[in-house]
């Protein structure tokens, strides 16, 4: 990386971008290889030593000193490079140069007037600025920014990205960002990562044109792992309707008037980039995240605001990302817990008995007395699906069910979900577009918490140009 350069690091989920940041900045130490900062090897050093060498980073999840004022936050950052940082005797006010620097930094960030506000009570945009300011305060020679634009509205994105460009004139910036349009707009070099290694490096133009990069983001259009066997779920009666729902994580507004509908017996896919609000939408459906407004009409009644156990008993099965198994309990116990608090008679919706689970996932039968955390990723996913279906289910929510799975396992699960079509409705979030488009009947595409496209899945699966037009850049 050279001075005056913005170097963007992009790649799909799980490509290893944040992990790379953690390795560089000393949060984890690498097993091998070398990281050099201005010619000096810094790998294996502790994070505070690396910071002293001139490397600063911001965080994907804003990480500030929430109980302290904006001014104190920034002063603490500047003070880290001050000779008196260990001084236990002289008042902090007796270092005028520190105060002057802090004021300069505040002016640079445009935070004047709110210096004395506690950082925790700032708006999300303000928090991101303070986060950035703390990183700048240590006078870095290289700056790592982890998704500085995530969760910001358009005008704030504009403002923060201009700030980054100003900084980059003097300090090289390595930036991870999912807002690809914007980051390709101001980066000088771009590195694309996929599954832990570098796919390519080049100018934004080259990246935009590169077929492999497009393939990573939109799928190669290669034959999906499996042909679906069942007919598309014909337009059954409506089962679920979301009307203009809004939800926030703290101050980050994640769902923004999102509306969608699901009919009986169909599979609906939610598409969209990272941070678009797909997983959040599933969580809101399962009752895990309170809505700030909007309605969730499920089988004729509004279930928004019901606690998660009640929603589960109404027949909503949820398979969270990362599976959420009870580690330390055996597979059999996990499944039994799935059965315990819900009606399990198959009278209302789909229900798998133990015998059916054994038929559908023979692997689970073999592993039934093994603790869940000793299962392979694929087995865990099977267990999670089986647990969800161990009570009556009318609507199954799947969050990244194929994530990190081997192709054969993906194929098995694909067939299972395919067989469920017509028996219950599925809402699925998945980044593997080739697979999910083959599976789904209809898709809803989200961006910044709102639905911007809805339609049948088939044209997106077959027509790559159409898919790119809708989903790429």
């Amino acid at each position: 990386m050279n001075a005056g350069e913005v170097h963007a690091l992009i790649g799909p989920n799980g490509a290893g971008k944040t992990t790379l940041f953690n390795l560089i900045s000393g949060r984890f130490s690498p097993d091998g290889g070398a990281v050099r900062l201005c010619g000096k090897r810094i790998q294996g050093l502790e994070s505070h030593q690396i910071c002293r060498q001139g490397l600063a980073r911001s965080f994907q999840i804003t990480s500030v000193f929430r109980g302290l004022s904006v001014y104190e936050n920034l002063r603490l950052s500047l003070q880290g490079g001050h000779a008196a940082r260990f001084d236990p005797w002289h008042g902090i006010g007796s270092f005028p140069e520190l105060a002057a620097l802090t004021r300069q930094l505040i002016a640079f960030l445009g935070l004047e007037g709110i210096e004395d506000v506690a950082a925790g009570s700032l708006s999300y945009g303000g928090l991101r600025l303070v986060d950035l300011g703390i990183a700048l305060g240590s006078a870095p020679r290289v700056l790592l920014l982890d998704e500085p634009l995530a969760g910001l509205a358009a005008a704030e994105r504009e403002r923060v990205s201009r700030l980054i460009q100003t900084v980059a004139v003097s300090i090289p910036v390595l930036i991870v960002e999912h807002d690809i349009d914007r980051v390709l707009g101001f980066a000088h070099r771009v590195t694309v990562m996929n599954q832990g290694s570098v796919l390519m490096s080049g100018t934004p133009g080259e990246v935009r044109a590169d077929v492999r990069v497009q393939a990573v983001y939109t799928g190669a259009g290669t034959p999906p792992v499996a042909e679906r066997k069942t007919a598309p779920g014909a337009g059954g009666a409506p089962l679920l309707r979301l009307e203009r729902i809004n939800a926030c994580y703290g101050k980050s507004h994640v769902l923004n008037d999102a509306s969608l509908d699901v009919r009986e017996g169909e599979i609906v896919a939610l598409l969209g980039r990272n941070g678009a609000g797909k997983s959040t939408l599933l969580k809101a459906l399962a009752g895990l995240l309170p809505l700030s407004s909007g309605q969730i009409i499920y089988r004729g009644r509004d279930i928004a605001g019901l606690p998660p156990p009640d929603i589960a008993r109404l027949g909503v099965g949820y398979v969270p990302q990362g599976r959420g198994l009870f580690a330390g309990m055996t597979v059999a116990e996990n499944l039994a817990l799935g059965r315990l608090a819900r009606r399990a008679d198959g009278r209302d919706g789909v229900f798998w008995s133990e015998r059916q689970v054994n038929e559908i996932f023979p692997r689970l039968h073999e592993r039934r007395s093994v603790a869940a955390d000793y299962l392979s990723g694929g087995e865990q996913q099977m267990a999670a699906v089986a647990r969800a279906l161990s009570g009556n289910v009318r609507l199954l929510l799947l969050d990244e069910p194929f994530e990190g799975l081997a192709p054969t396992v993906v194929q098995d699960l694909f067939h299972v979900f395919d067989k469920l079509r017509g028996m219950l409705s599925i809402v699925i979030v998945e980044h593997n577009l080739d697979v999910v488009l083959a599976l789904a009947d209809r898709v809803f595409a989200l961006e910044r918490g709102a639905v911007f496209h809805e339609g049948p899945a088939a044209p997106l699966l077959a027509d790559l140009d159409y898919r790119k037009r809708i989903l790429w850049l």
């Binding site: 000193f65 302290l68 002289h90 902090i92 007037g113 506000v117 240590s138 809004n246």
Partner: protein
């Protein structure tokens, strides 16, 4: 500095008024002295709990170690009077706290707390069983205060004066520490240790330093208590006493330097006045503790602040901290821009 700090002034006035106050409510100067000693111990503990966010469940260990060290130093004839034994106690606590701190601070969060709890239990067991050194069940008695110049320290008021002066000195020192760059880093560690370390602070070193400082202040209080009672017993290191120290900190208010001192006074008054009516005063104290944790985590100091604000010009400061805003909305975008602060921004800058 020509002007006297408000907290320091408050402390000085309180220390002068305390014996009179105790007299009015029918208590002795000795009780006032114990209150000041508890206050010093709680101030030391709060450095760790309130400012650095490290909850120690075993600070009585340092109180007891300080007390035993002073007592043993005096009885062995190694140091005469009260000054030299107290210095020995301070040094001894500092050395032990450094050695143990290196080990205990390797664990974070609840494991740190459990290790401190274990430390207190261990110290108690050693103090109770090792009769040859600590006197075991009988404790170490026969201490004497001696005289300081013309002042006979066996006089309760004279000893109170010494303890009060030491308390004031501790308060002054802690004030300086809290306001120094070092003190601000401690708060940063409490708020976000990860970020502090990524900003170049070797947080383990800061934590060890504050751990030792905190232990030393509490150990100093322990040494003072040894001469106050002319006796050290194993109870001074018990887990129960650790809990009482923590209760003083929480009840007084851990986010304010003077909070724990207020909590110590509350504890002593509660104990002395309630035990007249009920032998189960500890039950009522426990209930009071629960009530504070649930309804006023900021402690007595915060209640005082709230009352003061209710009576007057508080509106502005309330508006400046709108608290937890419900949700970030695009309409609040403008709050990002330089000029529009939540409160009316000064026009000239």
């Amino acid at each position: 500095m020509s002007r006297v700090d408000p907290p320091l002034l408050t402390g000085a006035v309180a220390l002068i008024a305390l014996p009179l106050f105790m007299h009015v409510v029918g208590l002795t100067v000795n009780t006032a002295c114990m209150a000041v000693i508890f206050a010093i111990a709680a101030l030391g503990l709060n450095l760790l709990v309130g400012f650095t966010g490290l909850t120690s469940f075993g600070h009585a260990a340092w109180f007891g170690i300080g007390a035993y060290a002073a007592a043993i130093a005096q009885r062995s004839g190694f140091a005469a009077g009260i000054g030299p034994p107290i210095l020995v106690a301070i040094l001894f606590v500092a050395v032990v706290a450094t050695a143990l701190g290196v080990i205990i601070l390797r664990r974070r969060g609840v494991y740190f707390s459990l290790l401190t709890l274990a430390l207190s239990a261990l110290t108690y067991a050693v103090a109770f069983r090792w009769t040859a050194v600590t006197g075991g069940e009988d404790g170490l008695g026969g201490l004497h205060r001696g005289a300081l110049g013309p002042l006979d320290l066996d006089n309760a008021l004279a000893y109170y004066g010494v303890v009060a002066l030491i308390g004031l000195a501790v308060l002054y020192g802690l004030l300086r520490v809290i306001r120094s760059p070092f003190g601000h880093v401690l708060v940063a560690i409490r708020e976000n240790p990860l970020r502090a370390s990524f900003q170049g602070y070797p947080i383990e070193r800061y934590k060890l330093a504050v751990f030792v400082l905190s232990a030393v202040v509490t150990g100093l209080a322990g040494a003072l208590s040894a001469f106050q009672n002319y006796l050290v017993s194993a109870d001074a290191t018990s887990v129960a006493y650790s809990g009482e120290l923590l209760a003083m900190v929480v009840i007084g208010g851990m986010r304010h330097l003077l909070g724990p001192a207020l909590g110590a006074l509350f504890f002593v008054l509660f104990r002395e006045l309630f035990s007249i009516w009920s032998s189960n005063w500890l039950l009522w104290f426990g209930l009071a503790f629960v009530a504070f944790v649930m309804y006023s985590p900021g402690g007595l100091i915060e209640i005082g602040g709230k009352l003061r604000r209710r009576t007057g010009r508080s509106r502005a400061s309330l508006r400046r901290n709108p608290g937890k805003a419900s949700c970030w909305r695009p309409s609040r975008l403008s709050s990002l821009s330089a000029a529009s602060a939540p409160s009316p921004a000064p026009t000239s800058r």
